[in-house]
């Protein structure tokens, strides 16, 4: 399967601080990818590297089979909506469409105009006078009408109210259904991506903690509760993501591809949010030995 995003030993350093390091990814095409992690984890850095706004300090990144932003053909393949869905405040909606038309060889004017009409936006209105939700929708319109192979969106709904969030996601999913493009979108909230993404990348403290197909992640992670015991006594092939104990009880969050038959454990399924939160909150040291990133990627 062709990869829409491929990173090898990718890292980015700002002065003395690594914003992203040891990043290995292979994201298949045709997916809606959720990039989740707390603020400051390196999400924007990764997306800026993917869009070619930044260049790597070490390692390589490939997007749609080419180096980010290298040449006109590559630029046409990737759409990027930066954080806070920026628009030009003093320019009108029509001016924005005009920009899109001139700068993008595959520009789809019919799609752009149809969306503006359905959104009820006035073509003569200045972008600075639009509401946050309308501005986000205008930026999304430019991203969709560009007809990219991959659309990258950095925290597109973070600043929106719940209704505008929902409308934005509805329009994005409709566009995915219609045009079949791949999407990578970041959010610091798992709930934003739970419905919309079928692939998730969890980034914490400048490192990828886990990445993979959502159904596979949900299918391979379980919560085990039972009488208190040492997690090290678990059979091989089970990786403990988090463990907590009371004086009598042990609760483990494990990743395993083998069914758990031990009757002393009560096994409960986990939602995506539980899994992501477990990876976010457990210390990085816990992953060094088990190398979950590489295994889940396969």
């Amino acid at each position: 399967m062709s990869a829409v995003l491929r990173a090898q030993a990718l890292g980015k350093k700002y002065k003395r601080r690594w914003a992203l390091q040891h990043c290995d990814l292979e994201v298949p095409a045709g997916r809606v990818v959720g990039l989740v992690g707390p603020n400051g984890a390196g999400k924007s850095t990764l997306l800026n590297l993917a869009s070619g706004m930044l260049t790597p300090t070490v390692g390589t990144i490939e997007v749609c089979g080419g180096r980010p932003a290298e040449g006109a053909e590559q630029l046409a393949k990737v759409g990027f909506v930066a954080q806070d869905t920026p628009t030009y405040a003093s320019l009108s909606v029509a001016d924005h469409l005009d920009f899109g038309r001139r700068l993008n060889p595959d520009w789809d004017d019919a799609v752009a105009l149809d969306r503006i009409r359905r959104l009820g936006l006035d073509l003569t209105q200045r972008a600075g006078k639009l509401s946050g939700g309308q501005r986000a929708q205008l930026a999304l319109t430019l991203g969709i009408a560009k007809r990219p192979e991959l659309l990258i969106l950095d925290e597109p709904v973070a600043a929106l109210d719940p209704l505008a969030r929902r409308e934005f996601m509805q329009d994005l999913m409709e566009a995915v259904a219609e045009h079949g493009m791949s999407v990578v979108l970041s959010s610091h909230l798992v709930s934003d991506v739970e419905r919309t993404c079928d692939y998730v990348i969890v980034l914490v403290d400048s490192r990828v903690r886990v990445a993979g197909d959502v159904d596979q992640l949900v299918g391979s992670h379980h919560r085990l509760t039972g009488p208190r015991r040492d997690p090290a006594t678990l059979p091989a092939g089970r990786h403990v993501i988090s463990a907590s104990h009371t004086d009598r009880q042990t609760t483990l969050l494990v990743r395993t591809d083998i069914p758990v038959h031990d009757p002393s454990w009560t096994v409960t399924p986990l939602g995506l949010e539980d899994i992501v939160l477990a990876y976010m909150t457990s210390p990085a040291e816990a992953f060094r030995d088990t190398r979950p990133v590489l295994e889940v990627l396969r």
């Binding site: 045709g30 997916r31 809606v32 929902r166 996601m169 509805q170 329009d171 999913m173 409709e174 995915v176 259904a177 219609e178 709930s191 739970e194 419905r195 919309t196 993404c197 079928d198 959502v214 159904d215 949900v218 399924p269 939602g271 995506l272």
Partner: protein
């Protein structure tokens, strides 16, 4: 036409919820043979869900022989789950009501009733499998 709803707190994945809602509608006779399901694009938009998820749910229903995709036309219901068993619902509901009354008279509150039911249901289902 069926309208889908997703519940983020249900514990079931969006894909499972879509499959369940179609099966539920088939069982209750809300969907019958020949009815068209909404298009992938319509569902993606309506509930803001990934179109791949809708496709996967429709493929699962197709695999179960409940719907069939006619390229360029849509996905149609080919079989109903209601048929003969729907007739039995009335008496079964009555039995269940009687049982609930008994349980309340025995002093069980709602939570205990639900726990007892789910527990018995699961162990019975487990015996069937084994």
């Amino acid at each position: 036409m069926i309208e889908f709803h997703l519940n983020d707190r249900s514990g079931a994945s969006p894909y499972q919820q879509l499959v369940q809602q179609v099966r539920h509608a088939l069982r209750l006779g809300l969907l019958t043979e020949g009815d068209r399901l909404p298009t992938v694009k319509e569902v993606a938009r309506q509930v803001a869900v990934n179109p791949n998820t809708v496709l996967k749910a429709y493929r699962e229903l197709e695999h179960e022989g409940l719907v069939a995709a006619r390229p360029g036309v849509g996905t149609f219901v080919t079989r109903t789950l209601a048929d003969a068993s729907l007739v039995a619902h009335g008496t079964l509901r009555q039995d269940l009501r009687r049982w609930l009354t008994k349980a309340r008279l025995a002093g069980l509150d709602e939570e205990s009733i639900e726990a007892l039911f789910m527990n018995t249901f699961r162990s019975a289902a487990g015996e069937d499998v084994a």
